[in-house]
Amino acid sequence: MQEFVDGLVANPSWVHYLGAMLAFGGIVVFGFVLPIAGITTWVERRVAGRIQSRIGPNRTGPAGFLQWLADGIKSLLKEDIVPDAADAPLFKLAPYVVMTGFVGAFVALPFGGPLIIADLNVGILYITAVTSLVVVGILMAGWSSNNKWSLLGGIRSAAQIVSYEIPAGLSIFPIVMLSGALSMQSIIAEQGAAPWRWFIFNNPFTFIAFFIFFVAALAEGNRTPFDLPEAESELVMGFATEYSGMRNLLFFMAEWGNLYVIGAIVATLFLGGWQIPWALAEHPVPRVALQFGTFFLKSYFWVFVAVWLRWTLPRIRVDQMMIMCWKYLVPLAFVNLLGTAAWMVVFPHGAPGVPELLCVAAAVLLGLFLRRVRYHLTRAGLKREELSYNILATERIPGLG
């Protein structure tokens, strides 16, 4: 046994490399990616519950935290139905292609200073490329289901994802220009910890690029208002109608995990990633922990915003979606690209005071928004005992009497 291990360490052959990669991949997927997708579903369901005046899942685990685990085990135990007339090999392969598309992005996400699996020097380009694999998977699912409704869903999704790649990519260019590199860690290194050092507030064009990117990324992830491929009211479940059991769950895990990837990319590119205000050179473990926590909070904040948008907005129709992409987002993204380039020519070292001004403007907008929220609360005539600021509370609103 000892000789075997010594031989392994001294002379690794390609078999050993392959085994190590598979094992490592398995650990990453099952130990990290799946819980992230699961936690995202927990956030989604609890937030959706409170928005809809109800409680989300609250029985399995503390505050329903393990509901995703229960759902996963339940799906594994379900009957695996492959329709008789469906194209079985494509049908079975489709969920895995979609999963590959989204799990592949985790390799290049910077979770902390040293916490990145592979700091590729084409980081963001790689992520954009890999997440577009899901189109192939969705088309396969829609076609092989032998169901006209699934086909409609698959085709809608293909059109949507392929179209919205363009504004998403175009919105990334200003960031790449500002930081001078495609590598994720370099982009974060160019930003600072304070909000006015983030790229989002660097100049007005990147501010607008942020919103364009967020909207385009939502469309990439099949989230409402762009969830036509799985429009429940129209197509039952769109391209995933014929799927049951674990295959079905893989599609949904891909969707929720993709939501996290969107949050992570937004946090990296526009919000300064894992940067913390203190150097903490001699305490590596707390430093890395703080960085990981910052990154986690930033990405989950945008997951929360995406969930909030999902439960507020209705669905856009297919032709309106295309109009919005090609007539609104793409021209604006081009304007941002040229604007950022012009800004960099005029202010080679950054404009003094503009980031701080944009920060203040954003804070003012937030203040106006909160005032509107308060207006809604007072107009509904709510009394003190009908409000609860604890989002995990389950105490009921008192009745009419």
Partner: protein, 185 residues
């Protein structure tokens, strides 16, 4: 589409979406509406007790005050009440040998409880009647042949029957009558 309309579209979209988000954000700080029934109710609360008095749940027959007038059997549109009552001179009145209500057929309309003279057949707040077999849905109220009740002039004196009769009369007093009165002003 001119530039003005183009920019106005963007502005309208942004403002209405932000307003919608403000409404949902305001809901995040409101208490939920859910009653966590049945296992997380407040201490000592049975949901059945919180239901109003007029709630039309499962039917119950108080055989002690049933006069065997068969008004409920005649009133039921679905024929789910079956009563066997024969006049027995020796016992001194009607003797009931069968009073079955098929709860699977019952549509909880209340037509049977309206004409009852004593309020013996009435709706209860019970609504949990699920069972595994169809036969168990037929509620048989007569265990042994029983003499029908005869209302006494001047009120009921028997202390066992008086409270049941009082409850029954209170139940049928809720129904509207042509004489009027008894309602909220």
């Amino acid at each position: 589409m001119g530039l003005g309309a183009y920019l106005r579209n963007i502005k309208d979209a942004a403002l209405t979406i932000a307003d919608g988000m403000a409404v949902t954000a305001s809901h995040l700080v409101r208490k939920p509406y859910t009653v966590q029934y049945p296992d997380r109710l407040p201490e000592g609360v049975r949901v059945q007790d919180t239901l109003p008095f007029r709630y039309r749940g499962m039917l119950e027959v108080d055989l002690e005050i049933c006069t065997a007038c068969l008004a409920c059997e005649r009133a039921c549109p679905i024929d789910c009440i079956v009563i066997d009552a024969t006049k027995d001179k020796a016992a001194g009145g009607f003797v009931m040998t069968r009073f079955d209500i098929d709860m699977a057929k019952c549509m909880y309309c209340g037509l049977c409880s309206e004409p009852c003279p004593t309020g013996s057949i009435h709706h209860t707040p019970e609504f949990e009647g699920a069972d595994y077999s169809l036969e168990s849905m037929v509620r048989k109220f007569v265990k042994a042949p029983v003499l029908a009740y005869k209302p006494k002039k001047g009120g009921e004196t028997d202390p066992e029957i008086a409270p049941i009769l009082e409850r029954g009369m209170r139940y049928i007093a809720e129904f509207a009558s042509a004489e009027g009165g008894g309602g909220e002003e």
